[in-house]
Symmetry: D2
Subunit: 307 residues, 4 copies
């Protein structure tokens, strides 16, 4: 992977069997469906994959199967998310072994240190591998926001190859994109803010990493191509439609957090016939009953499912 | 004011004399400069005006002078920001007396009640006046986020005429704009998120209320006209330039909060010859020394000031 | 008031008529009941009084009636809570005029500045008055925590005469009490943390400002006297009983925030025959129905009301 | 371990060699020093041990060495802290194998689910083991607060054997202790709030888990014995001294978070001759230079180190 990563790179949701094992067959179907839809890369073991909720053996398996199925058709970005530098480096070793094209790492989490330590973390990761590293900015999970000046400095020095921004802070995102451009665009700046990807493209994003892209990869691909063609009206209209679809993550009652977020993606994929179940990792239960019906309604309403 | 408010509506910064009195002459110059630049309305006594940091007499004076100077050339929106319903209604009485075209109210603040009480607050305001009411969503100041379903319901019933969204939550903003459109656009949805107004226009905003519009009203007007003309490339390029200009609010050292935010707007207006001083309300001191020079640099760099 | 304020100083809740007017008769009864119970001072226009939710005229009236009724029997501390320095000074003028023994001021609120400005705020207040000033540390309302080193410095210089700590941060409180003691105890350090006053006494508090002291002043007075006598077992047992009583603020359903907090104090005082109603300031409604019954249960259970 | 855990149970800090390996010799010295001081139990692999910053192999080793050294002299509580139920159960298996007397588990972390899922998590842990389970309430790390009613219900049913409360919420702690007592004290309620342990004892705590107990176990043991004897004055005076000692965690400059917290404990133990180094896990660097000297000053000032 010498070229910069651009375009639509969904963070792949992980299908599980009722036993909790990886559902390999569904996983193949899911990966192929996204590649067929024209995605520009796949981010395996991101937050939406329940990465930190899988055992280390399961994490390895998810990556191995993905590498085998993807087979070089699109770049494979591997999440190496863990609490601490050495633990992350252990995951990087697995990613190297399996042949990932890049790795994606967050700041350390659980107890919080300072920004000097976060910067040192990324520098230690870079010293430990030749793989391109994406800094994954996800304060909702790790409870620190990666500061724009730090990211720009790390990008300038080649410590990081890009940023996956799931901060929800569109102002910072713009300054990051502007700063990157001002120094010749060494980094790939990707937004994870799936409901306002159009705004991120306005700000100069190099692409998107939309969790909802698991459900409707074709929609995000159409939006990206319109952006590349300068057709902003299509970018915008497609975004409105995707925002309607994103309501699947909001219609569940009595469930909060990623159980209704990732849970709704799994449920939609199950309803679409891509997954065999909508099984989650314990202690989260799969959505059921009226919540499933509410998601079905959204899929019908937005044209993904026939009535 | 029967027509819906659309376009650029800067929240007017208040010039003060070293004595702390309103600098009437500068204020006239400032208001006229924005009207001459083509703004579509003026929001007096918004957060950027230091509204809650002025005595009630000063608040009245600021509104009176504004009404006299504006003289119907553009709609005058009057902030009626206060901690509690009856106190807000007292401010509404003043706004009515002075002839404001609309009032802008936040949720109550200081001690927090629940959302039922916030909704009741807006309903009581509506019962108390015939003026159109804008709900001002500014959680960073009042520490509650106005929920989108509540705003849509109040808009549907005609309790509020619009929303001034300073929440920084672009996802909620999109759902607000989409929901408003879906019910026939009864409300005027304005964004205060001055660095990413282009994204808000993509989302279907009816206009913007940019604090930075005090400094460069012409830039936001050009952006709005481009949006109206469907010229997205200009919308985007103008936004990038305005984001560069917004660095005036970030370059000060040793000062945090609105002292460097509103303080930078005042300092820029002083450097541009619009204001006589960059005086703030106590306990905040005006920016000085290197901070002023840093702001001057940004103004020169972005073409607002000659070298 | 030359002596340091020590002991139990309830923050007085304000009885209102259904019309929203001050219920003067209930107020007299309420003030006298607390003085008769042996309280060491009364803090009028604190947060529990709904101070910032009253009009300025009502605030003055509340203070005037309190001064008349108290008539020097115990020190009168007057809240001068407002968003900004000059506005606070206006309230100080009223407190001076009415003859308060001390004033109690928070940091500025709504938009946040930095700590240098907060410190300057207290210094400007001190320059403006000869009355002793208590710094009111209430981050839940003003969204800044007053730093212990700053409070100690202001106390050392005589800028503030004491601290009313409603921060809920017992670690900071201990360091504040220890620091004050280490420099000869120039300040009066009072806790507002009504459920764990015993812990604050362990930490060296000079007294307490318990909202719940409106309902059961005698309990807090007994606890204080036990503390003065070194009878820690009584301090602790009394606290457990008061914590049970504090459940009045937790039993309401469907109401959150100060509507169930201050609202429960008013409801208890109404049930106890001290207040005529449990009227709140708009937009908050008085508690009713099952919520009133649940409060009655707690009062009966803790022996304040007969079955 | 049939008896309820009561008394002082320090969360053991982990000594590391400059290579990052466990410093077994220092660890033995450290464990023995605490047992000799009279502690009532040892909590190995708590947050202060850098548990989630160690590889799984290192975690196992830390537990094995601890079990060997402790050798049944006091109860061994093993932290089984991880992001998700199955991962926690894997750690429980290791704790069972090594012979821990109880395990201590937090809520899941990284992405947040709802409270129903947190409760289910603890129930699944209980189904998976016969070991007593302590719920570890540490919102600063896992970003959820365990609700008091849930903890009481789980304790009533025997799902959890106790709570290690590091929430810093002394009001909740009191209601937890009161609720536990009201149902016959099935649980052991321990506070981790090391600066205000006296307040927790007033509230009815069964003991403490003070990180600072690594540095001065004898002090916390004296305080506990005084509490057991009803000698509240000693409880209080000892706490003041320990609060002075806790300043080691506050005197470092240029370092924030656990680098200055846990880092100061390691540095103090190094200065006291218990540890060979003050090595931390990457990316955190050990304290050095003036920060070490500042910690030495506090140790001298509080009598732990000779001048």
């Amino acid at each position: 992977m010498n070229a910069k990563i651009r375009g639509v790179v969904p963070p792949v949701v992980t299908p599980l069997l009722p036993s909790g094992e990886l559902d390999v067959e569904s996983y193949e179907r899911h990966l192929n469906r996204m590649i067929d839809a024209g995605v520009d890369g796949l981010f395996v073991l991101g937050s939406s994959s329940e990465v930190v909720f899988l055992t280390d053996e399961r994490r390895r398996q998810v990556l191995e199967v993905a590498a085998r199925v993807i087979d070089g058709r699109v770049p494979l970005l591997a999440g190496v998310i863990d609490t601490q530098t050495e633990r992350v480096i252990d995951h990087i070793r697995v990613a190297e072994e399996i042949g990932a094209d890049a790795v994606v790492a967050t700041a350390p989490f659980y107890a919080i240190a300072g920004m000097a330590e976060v910067e040192r973390h990324f520098r230690l990761l870079h010293e430990a591998t030749d793989l391109p590293i994406f800094a994954y900015d996800i304060p909702v999970c790790v409870h620190v926001k990666l500061p724009t000046p730090m990211l720009l400095q790390l990008g300038k020095e080649g410590v990081i190859a890009g940023v996956k921004d799931s901060s929800g802070d569109d102002v910072s995102f713009r300054y990051l994109a502007m700063g990157n451009k001002a120094m010749g665009s060494p980094m790939s700046i990707l937004t994870g803010h799936e409901v306002v990807v159009d705004g991120a493209y306005m700000a100069g994003a190099d692409g998107s990493v939309p969790g909802l892209g698991n459900v409707d990869p074709a929609g995000y691909v159409r939006q990206w191509k319109a952006y590349e063609a300068g057709d902003w009206e299509t970018v915008r209209v497609e975004q409105d439609r995707l925002a309607e679809l994103m309501r699947i993550a909001m219609v569940s009652k009595g469930v909060v957090g990623y159980g209704s977020g990732v849970g709704s993606f799994k449920t939609a994929l199950w309803l679409l016939g891509v997954f065999e179940t909508n099984q989650m990792t314990p202690p989260v239960l799969p959505l059921e009953g009226e919540n499933v019906e509410a998601i079905r309604e959204v899929l019908i309403h937005t044209g993904l499912l026939d009535n």
